[in-house]
Each structure stands twice: as C-alpha cells, then as structure tokens.
Amino acid sequence: MKNDWKKYIIVLFITVALFAIAASLSNFFADKKIAEMRSIQDKLAIDILSAETQFSLLSELSCEQGDGAENLSKELNELAEKISYSEANLKGNEEVTELKRYYSILQIKDYLLAKKINEKCKSNIIPLLYFYTTANNCTECTKQGYVLTELREKYPNLRIYSFDYNLDLSALNAMIRIYKIDDTKLPATKYYETLTERRHKDS
C-alpha cells in the first residue's frame, strides 16, 4: 500500500498556515485593542491636563469647574474596564503592562487634582483609593472589585482610583508609603474625607 508522503507534508503546511492566520488575526485584534486603549489614554491625559490648567486659572477667582468632571470619571472607568479585561485576555502582553503603568500615573494626577478641588471648593467628587494585588490569586480583591464597580454605578460622584500594588512604579510606591499600605492587608481602600465632611465632623 502506497503512502502519499507529499500530500501529508502539503497538508501539514496548509494546517500550519491556517494556525498562522488564526494567530495573526488574534494579534491584529489585540493590536487594535491596545491602540484603542492608547487613544483613550491620550484623550484622558489631555483632559486631565486641561482640568488642571482650568483649575489653576480659575482657582484664585472661583471654584467653577465646568462639566468636565463627569466625563473624566467615565473615561477613567472605561479605561479601567478595558485594561482589566486586556490583562486577563492578553496575558504576557508587555504593552498592556505599559498602558497600566501610564494609566496609574494618570489616576494619581487626577486624584491630586480632585483632592485640590475638594479642599478649595464644595465639590461632589468623592475620591476613593483602592489597592489590590495580581501577584497571587486574590479572591477577596475580585470580590472587592465587584463591590466597588457596583458602588461606582450607584454613586456617580464616587471616583475610584484602583492601583495594582505590584506594579513597579515610583509614583505608586510613594502613594503606598504615604497611605501606609501593607501588602499583607490587600485589598485595601483609602477614603479621602472632603472638606465639608471634615467640617461636619468637627462641629
């Protein structure tokens, strides 16, 4: 009985080609997703810079901030969801980690701005810092994530800044030191009291 070895090899090449097509399609869509996240991130960076500038310009005269805060919250949330999804589905992708680092810096900047606004004006924004870990299988972090997502949807003024404790970023490490976050007590949330609340407490 004859074996058509040539055919076995041709079929092998076709199969490898089909797998290569599948891998290329997957990479193509992964690149598109990363590009989309980068685009949101760039827009976010501009919006934060614009908000900072607007605040600097107007802070001496009034607390008028316009309607940019709500949009900023939406953008931050959208990016958070997309980065979180990409982390789970584009495992090992360096670009996702880079985006996450950049996103963390943007969050810190926005947090500082929100804090300033709260100190000077009667702001509705309630900033909440959330530290989680990806180093081990942290079920409690996932649970906490669901709770915060739920809260964020219920209370639009709640602005949650989530940080991966294990992300190697000097600005984030400074935050961890300032708020004395212990890696054995993760997940951890830090709530920033608004000026109104502090006054209310004092009285």
Partner: protein, 425 residues
C-alpha cells in the same frame, strides 16, 4: 498558557489536519465522484447472496426483505438468506411469508450473536459475491447494480454503500441525518485513500473469496463490521465506497437510544483498533495505519479533552459569577444597563481556530450532502447536529473509554425505531 489550553491547541491542530487532509483529497478527486440518477445496465450480472441476520425484528424484517426482492437485479442471480438468530418474538412466523419464494432461504439457529448468523449465511452461500443487510435497513432498487460496477476493478474486494437516515421524525434523527451526510464524505475520501475502517452492516458487499482467504466474521466487541475491514486491510485487500448506493436505515429516535448505539460503536472502535494496534503508524499498511487509526484515536481523545477544556471555561465563568453574587447580590447581574462594546469580544487565537475547525466540518457536511444528494444545502439540521453532538458526544466517548479500560463490554440493545416510509433521495 494553561496546560489545558496547550492540549486544546495540539488536539485542534490534529483535528484541523484531518479535515484539511479530507478537503485536499476531495479537491483532487471530486471529478471522479459519480452520482447516477438513472437506471443502469450491467454487461454481466454476477451471482450475489445477501444475508439478513435478524434477532427480534418482527416489525422491520419484512420491509428489509421486500426491499431486497425489489432490487433491480436478475432474480436468478440474487439469493437472499434470512437467518433468524434465535428470536424470542414472532420473527420466524413473519418470515414464513417468504417460505415459497425461490429467491429466499430461511434459516433458524440458536441465538449466538450477529457474527454467527452472518457466518451461517456465508457457509450456505455459493455465489461469487456475498453481502449483508441489517434487518433495520432497506435498499434503493438500483443500489446493488451500482455497487457491482465498482467490482469491475479486480482489485476491489469489498464495497460499502451510503447509509441514509430513514424518514427522520425527531430532532435527534434530523441531527443524525446531517451526521450521516458527513460520514458519506469521510468514507468516500477514505476510499480514495484506501483507508476505510468499516464495512457497515447495512449492505456492504464482498467478494466471497474474502472470507475464504481471511476467515469468517468474528464477535469483535459487537462491531464485526469494523473488525472485518481492519482484517482486510491487514491482508492488503482493497475496500471501496459507492456513494450512490443508498441504504435507508432506522436511527435512534432519542438521546438514550443514540447514547447506547454510539457507546457500542466507539467502544468497538477502541477495542478493535487496540486489537490491530500493530498496524498503527506502520507505512506498509498505508492510509489505515498512518491516517485512519491515528485520526480515530485523535477524535476519541480530542472529544474528551475538548470537553475538559469547555468545562474548565464554564467552571471559571460560573465561579466568577458566584463570587459576584456573593459580593453584591443577585440583582447586580441583571440590574446594570446593557451596552455592547466590540472591545470585549474575545479575540484570542483559540476562538479563530475553533471557527476554522467548524468551517471545515460544515464544509465536509455540505460536500457530503452535495455528493450524495447532488445539491449543496445548508439547512438547520447541520446546526442541530453541531449543537447536539458537541454537547452529548463526549459522554458516550468517555463512557466507552471507561468501559474499554475496565473491560465492560458494550452490547446490542434496543437502539432503533422503525418507520416504514421509504425516502428516495
């Protein structure tokens, strides 16, 4: 990358390889596939004996024998031997209708299994060709002549027909109709490659000397039709497939009956392939050793591993949902407004590989249907087949593997339902 994902990729690669192999074979040979819609005439009509083994088939045996008597074949060249394998119902009484028919010989014996009934028929035949027809099947009246044209090639020792599901009524039967159409395609491609691993009970025809050379049927784990094909390959005997020799068969009408039938088939394959494992990866046995048997094992192990992979995905999804419910309550799963963002569509490679595999399977199904019925149809039963078999096939495969490992033999059980309306393709 998880271990299961790596296994998924390996199994998918092999599964895609098998489908591409068939597709390339189809493209090479498609012009050789001849579907005859008109009556044909043979120059010579060789003598043929058709053996009908039956056990408790009082409801169906008349349909089977009558269809044989209606075959367009000279009556003096066609003998029918009906063997009652110790039926406990009225099969023998029903068969007496044919006691005065010169074409029909009735034999009765103690129950000993299908292979013993077939062997008794072979012993009592003296024709050049011998075939069998399960008593739950009936034949198209041109089927025998069409098959005999394949024996014009002196090297051809056996020819398998195309089995069509008779008068489907239930969803399970419609799903099987699509599956059978795909199996015609697979069988024809294997025939081109000389790698057919089964000469089905319904109407496979052999040169009588096959049995003289390699011996009679064996019990073969209740799948004697698989064993005889493997034994023929071992002796270098060629098996072909006649795509336009239609045989109509009753098919299981419910999931439990289908489960029992497939359990027997898969168990039989595993045991027979194990009995003939010395042919595996041996180039001297051609396609059967290098392709058919390995791809059979790939299918069996692939179904199980894909089920494990699917279950792990479902488990992981449900765990996440349970955690969400624990954290924020059931209402959180329904309360949020729905918004669609294509960003969240999974675009990992395994999704595209699964799509490629499904496209190849659907292409096989459509090619099979076109080959047999002469038209290209994408109908709902294809989706039904893909859905039902994807879900339930792993269970009978797992059970068959378990039975094979523990030595628990599958048996003939009530798998069929009878319907008496003949369907002409």
């Amino acid at each position: 990358m998880s271990v299961l994902l790596v296994i998924f990729y390996i199994i998918s690669f092999l599964a895609v390889y098998v489908q591409v192999f068939f597709l390339v074979t189809f493209l090479e040979n498609r012009k050789k596939i001849n579907i005859r819609s008109t009556n044909i005439t043979l120059d010579v009509y060789p003598t043929v004996t058709i053996i009908v083994p039956c056990y408790n088939e009082e409801k169906a045996v008349m349909l089977t024998v009558d269809s044989l008597l209606e075959l367009d074949y000279p009556k003096d060249k066609l003998n029918i031997i009906v063997v009652d394998d110790g039926s406990k119902d009225n099969t023998w009484d029903v068969l007496q209708k044919y006691s005065n028919n010169s074409q029909v010989v009735l034999l009765q014996k103690e129950n000993g299994g299908k292979h013993t009934a077939l062997n008794l028929g072979i012993e009592n035949s003296s024709t050049e060709f011998v075939g069998c027809l399960d008593s739950d099947s009936s034949v198209h009246k041109e089927a025998l002549k069409r098959i005999m044209t394949f024996f014009l090639n002196e090297e051809t020792m056996a020819v398998a027909p195309s089995i069509v599901v008779r008068d489907p009524k239930t969803l399970i039967q419609y799903a099987q109709r699509a599956e059978y159409d795909m199996s015609h395609y697979n069988k024809k491609m294997l025939a081109f490659l000389q790698g057919i691993h089964v000469t089905p009970g319904p109407f496979s025809i052999f040169r009588k000397r096959v049995f003289d050379e390699i011996g009679p049927y064996r019990k073969a784990h209740h799948t004697e039709d698989q064993e005889i094909a493997l034994r023929m390959h071992k002796h270098g005997l060629k098996i072909d497939h006649c795509p336009d020799a239609y045989v109509y068969t009753s098919s299981p009408s419910s999931i439990p009956k289908l489960y029992k039938q497939r359990l027997r088939w898969i168990y039989g394959f595993i045991k027979n392939a194990t009995d003939y494992k010395d042919m595996m990866f041996r180039p001297q046995y051609g396609t059967i050793g290098m392709f058919t048997l390995p791809s059979g094992f790939i299918s069996v192990s692939g179904v199980v591993l894909l089920m494990l992979f699917t279950f792990s995905q479902i488990y992981s999804f449900l765990s996440r949902k349970l955690l969400q419910v624990k954290a924020v309550g059931v209402s959180s799963m329904f309360g949020n407004s729905f918004s669609f963002d294509p960003f969240f569509i999974n675009t990992r490679a395994f999704l595209f590989i699964s799509i490629i595999l499904y496209i190849l399977v659907v292409a096989a199904l459509i090619n099979g249907r076109r080959m047999i019925h002469g038209r290209k149809i994408f109908s709902w039963d294809i989706l039904l087949f893909l859905t039902i078999f994807s879900v339930i096939a792993p269970f009978w495969v797992l059970k068959a593997i378990w039975n094979a490992l523990t030595g628990k033999e599958a048996s003939w059980t009530e798998e069929r339902d009878y319907s008496f309306k003949q369907v002409t393709p």
